[in-house]
């Protein structure tokens, strides 16, 4: 007797969020002081630092940079030598920039699903364990304390150091592979293994915690009802757990995408690139390219144009993703 109730679309089961008082027109308005001078003073005092700070470092910055992106601003941050859209055209016709876009898409296509699946899997595992759950969670979360710089150091100099005694080569040896220099091997591009495992190790605990929070929010009686109907194992996962994690999943996907697209630290540090570096990196992310352009060549016009192109890309993809997944419907 397989139950019918679980075959319907999960959407109907979503609970509406906790009723929150909308600060605007509450029932208790009787005692509230009117928006007099004192309310204005308090509002100004409390919000001024944030408003001024965001105004300067976001709005002024973006506006100024937009003017720079239309100027010839090599070695100067003063706009005025107008060149129209030249900076944008230069950037988009630059072969290394376009290659960096392709490479970050490839990287994103790898790291997002891998991290998503791994963090969900770990969350399911940790959630199910009763004894020692806290210890296990700590073990998976503790890499989140490590910076990308330190992790790059460990991956480059220890795990994937190319020595026969290196961990990666030892493990590969069990499967009959010969010792290889992981970071320098471009065909096949083994450096992707280094890049993906590094980011996975650093990120997965963080997203596991998000999924754990989502799992804890699923009411237990849903499972009990389904168990009464004879559902178990994979079926519970597919018809209750995953649908109930929908909002968490969408948020995680979005965060993963935004983080992956802005990848910089590990690419910079693993491949010895950057201003002081010597090595020719086999991959370059758009941000590394932008860093070299803006800080290396001090071309702030081109650098500004790059900032706008990348922002547009991220915002665009986020909006498309939001439309497909229905995220942000309750905002606004």
């Amino acid at each position: 007797m397989v139950a019918a109730p679980h075959t319907g679309p999960p959407r109907t089961r979503r609970r509406s969020g906790p009723a929150r008082p909308s600060g605007r027109g509450p029932a208790r308005a009787g005692r509230r002081p009117r928006a007099g001078r004192s309310a204005w003073a308090a509002f100004a005092l409390l919000t001024a630092p944030t408003l001024i700070g965001l105004g300067a470092f976001k709005y002024v910055a973006i506006g100024w940079s937009f003017l720079l992106s239309l100027s010839d601003a090599r070695g100067t941050i003063a706009p005025g030598r107008w060149v129209g859209l030249d900076n944008y055209l230069t950037l988009l016709s630059d072969r290394t920039f376009r290659a960096s876009l392709g490479q970050i898409l490839l990287f994103t296509a790898f790291i997002v699903p891998v991290t998503f699946a791994a963090s969900l899997g770990l969350a399911l595992l940790v959630h199910r364990i009763r004894r020692g759950r806290a210890v296990l969670r700590t073990a998976f979360l503790i890499p989140a304390a490590v910076s990308y710089v330190a992790a790059s150091l460990l991956w480059k100099m220890s795990l994937f150091n190319g020595l026969p005694t290196g961990i990666a080569n030892t493990v590969a040896g069990w499967f009959g592979m010969e010792a290889v220099p992981w970071l320098q091997t471009t065909s096949p591009p083994l450096y992707w293994v280094v890049l993906v495992t590094l980011r996975l190790w650093l990120q997965v605990g963080f997203y596991m915690v998000l999924f754990l929070a989502g799992l804890q929010g699923i009411p237990q009686d849903l499972y009990e009802a389904a168990a009464l109907d004879g559902a178990k194992g994979l079926r519970l996962l597919r018809s209750i757990t995953l649908p109930m994690l929908r909002n968490t999943s969408v948020a995680v996907l979005m965060l993963l995408f935004i983080a992956a697209f802005q990848a910089f630290d590990e690419f910079y540090n693993l491949f010895n690139s950057g201003l002081s570096g010597t090595g020719a990196a086999p991959v370059q992310t758009p941000l590394v390219h932008l860093y070299n352009t803006a800080m290396g060549s001090q071309d702030y016009g081109l650098g500004s144009a790059g900032a706008f192109v990348l922002t547009a890309l991220i915002v665009g993809v986020t909006l498309i993703q939001g439309r497909f997944t229905g995220f942000g419907r309750k905002e606004g």
């Binding site: 409390l46 630092p49 940079s65 595992l125 503790i142 500004s304």
Partner: protein, 281 residues
């Protein structure tokens, strides 16, 4: 009839135990390798003969780290500590103050201002380092610690989280304060703020971690060794021409240690912070 499920149950438990053991080992191995490398001498690290633990342990790798004037690791760690210790409390307090005002104080035009704050959430953080550099540079912030700190003090996402938090804050408590004659600022300072401890701790802890581990912005704005953070010093060490493996591992240990300790001590707040925020917009 009952033996089959029991057996498969036991098998499953064993399999799960094995999986847990394997995963835990994999996650903690990098830490082990780092400590092992930090306590070895150079021939030991590069030796084809594997050793599980160095003997004798070379603790002098750590003191060498601080004695090397070209590396200035001591100064870099102090810089990082100062930056994070300013950024975490100040950014959290500012966000809490603004969040309270947006949630509670009914002034006309509040909605527009909030929309202006929320709109900045759309701008991805690190992509816009050129615009931020232009502004901070024009204010004379290149190679200064305040130039590293200033842009990180204003966090629109935290403002939004605090606003949601104060919207759910029980109005009765404030009501009592109002009867005692407190104004809006007094209500925030005397009643709302003292009751936001867990939220302040959670978001503050996350801000501290972000600040300590941030790399791109300090790299852009603080090129001079006097303004190096621990991450920049470690990165420079890693990309420099002289390879000193034990020193590198020791450097990784001293830059990681403060946060690992913090994770172990304040894990409750960190987990809570991650769960409430999802962070890093």
């Amino acid at each position: 009839m009952s033996t089959v499920p029991r057996l498969s149950g036991a098998l499953r438990l064993t399999a799960r135990g094995l999986l847990v053991g394997l995963l835990t080992t994999a996650f903690l191995t990098p830490f082990y390798l780092m400590l092992r490398g930090a306590l070895m001498d150079t021939p030991g690290v590069t030796s084809p003969q594997w050793t599980w633990w160095p003997s004798p342990m070379h603790f002098e790798n750590f003191s060498a780290l601080f004695d090397d004037p070209a590396l200035s690791m001591g100064r870099a760690l102090a810089n990082s500590a100062l930056i994070a210790l300013v950024t975490a409390p100040v950014s959290t307090l500012l966000a809490s103050a603004a969040g309270y005002a947006f949630a509670r104080i009914p002034v006309p035009g509040r909605g527009v201002l909030l929309a202006l704050v929320v709109a900045t959430l759309m701008i991805p953080g690190s992509v816009t380092f050129v615009p931020t550099f232009v502004v901070v540079g024009s204010m004379g912030g290149v190679n200064t610690l305040w130039g590293i700190i200033a842009p990180g003090l204003f966090n629109p996402f935290a403002v939004l989280l605090f606003r949601n938090f104060y919207l759910r804050f029980p109005a009765e408590i404030e009501e009592a304060g109002r009867l005692d004659g407190l104004g809006w600022f007094g209500l925030y300072r005397r009643i709302a703020l003292p009751n936001s401890g867990a939220m302040l701790a959670s978001l503050g802890a996350l801000a501290f971690i972000d600040s300590w581990n941030s790399f791109l912005w300090p790299l852009v704005i603080g090129q001079d060794p006097s303004a190096w953070t621990a991450q920049i010093a470690l990165s420079t060490f890693l990309t420099s021409q002289t390879v000193n493996l034990p020193g590198l591992f020791a450097g990784a240990v001293v830059t990681i240690a403060p946060l690992v300790v913090m994770f172990l001590v304040a894990q409750r707040y960190i987990v809570e912070g991650i769960a409430t925020s999802g962070l890093k917009g």
